[in-house]
Amino acid sequence: MATLIKDGTISMNTCPSVSAFAAAVGKMEGEGPLANCFDYIADDVTLGESSWEKSESKLQQIAFSTALSKGNFSEKNIDVLFAGDLLNQCVSSSYGARDTEIPFLGLFGACSTMAESLGLASVFVDSGAAVNAAAVTSSHFCSAERQFRLPVNYGGQRTPTAQWTATAAGCAVVSPHGNAPYVRAFTIGKIKDMGITDANNMGAAMAAAAYDTISRHLCNTNQSIDNFDLILTGDLGKVGRDILMELFKKDNVDISEKHKDCGIMLFDPKKQDVHAGGSGCGCSASVLCSYILGEIRQGKLNKVLFAATGALMSPTIVQQGESIPGISHAVELSSC
């Protein structure tokens, strides 16, 4: 049964399995370096729908149904669905799940939602509150742009620190028994606000939260960086990654060799014009639920700390002059 170790870190006693996973992405993401790892690549950004919000819901549905079929599950086998996205009222998730009969819990953790949902699904399964629990998150470039920034066709320029919201969705099903990857522990993030007010520098707003969660997880579980093959942050992008390296350097810890960031991995920085990297709930979800979980299942990666990061940004509050709080949740995954 899931037990609190201390200070937000929960240990899984039965180590539930991520028995099935799938990722569905947009066209641009499907032209990136991880193209071969995705289960579904959309031909166009609309996915045949009449609005961006509906397109995102559909992408989430595709990721969910693909994960179920890959794991030979039917909807009846899923006891609870944790779902989240970036849009107001989590509409992509609720509309994506409205045709199902699965007990539903909507989440908002901005781009950290994949770790939040996967962690909660694991706690539910480990504690017996659910037999199988699914975690699904999504984001869509166009639906995010119109809500958080400007209309897609507006001729504005992006700053070098800006990140590109990924059109992507990922889904993971957690079960009590099954193949690797196994979930070993979950550290719940704390809100960290270092006074960043630039809505075009999300990496900086999130890096402090990533540092806090990763170091807290290591401390609470009595481990060091050396115990891990990979420390995978959500979507810090290039700027956030550089800040994270500096923060660890102050503790005389070098994580540069072990660290990767989903925002940097999803797109090709030379060929694809995404400035500081990718972002959005779907960014870390699609990288995790394709390449990373696949590598762990095959035993190529043994121990991974997945620390998805979210900038809890509201355009309204930022316009009122407030700074942007960041959060990061971490899930420890292993191959045995």
Binding site: P151, G155, Q157, P160, M194, G195, I196, A208, V239
Partner: protein, 148 residues
């Protein structure tokens, strides 16, 4: 982490790359200049076709606004503006794009609450403060003339 917000801000500034002005400024100059040259060429053409100066100026603006709106609808304007920056923002074409882009974007919420209500979401402040400034300018001019 023992770090104040001030120290974090300094670290962020150190790690955040600046805009490459040596690339963006010339591009803005040339693309903006090209739009202005196009405007001048249109003006010369309309005068050549027999329009008087005042009418030729109006028709030139209308033509530029039309092409900007068309290119926005064809999803090309933002691709040019990505390189043009202020060069595509400052001329009248930028203003047209800022009206047409939200009008198209919010069409999904209907013609009244979407297109019409959101049409001036970017250009609105320019119109509001443009009118206020012109009124202030008018008052100042009136007072100066009164004194003179």
């Amino acid at each position: 982490m023992e770090m104040t917000n001030n120290e974090y801000d300094k670290l962020t500034k150190k790690m955040s790359p600046d805009t490459k002005l040596y690339k963006t400024l010339p591009k803005a100059f040339f693309i903006g200049g090209l739009i202005c040259c196009l405007g001048q060429a249109l003006f010369n053409l309309y005068t050549f076709w027999g329009l008087n100066e005042q009418n030729a100026r109006s028709v030139t603006s209308i033509t530029l606004v039309f092409f900007s709106a068309l290119l926005t609808g064809l999803k090309l304007y933002d691709k040019i503006a990505k390189h043009g920056g202020a060069g595509t923002l400052v001329p009248i074409t930028g203003f047209a794009n800022s009206v047409v882009a939200p009008a198209l974007e919010f069409k999904t919420e209907g013609f009244i609450l979407g297109t019409a209500a959101k049409m001036f979401v970017i250009a609105g402040p320019v119109i509001v403060y443009g009118i206020i400034t012109s009124v202030l300018y008018g008052i100042i001019l009136y007072l100066v003339q009164l004194g003179g």
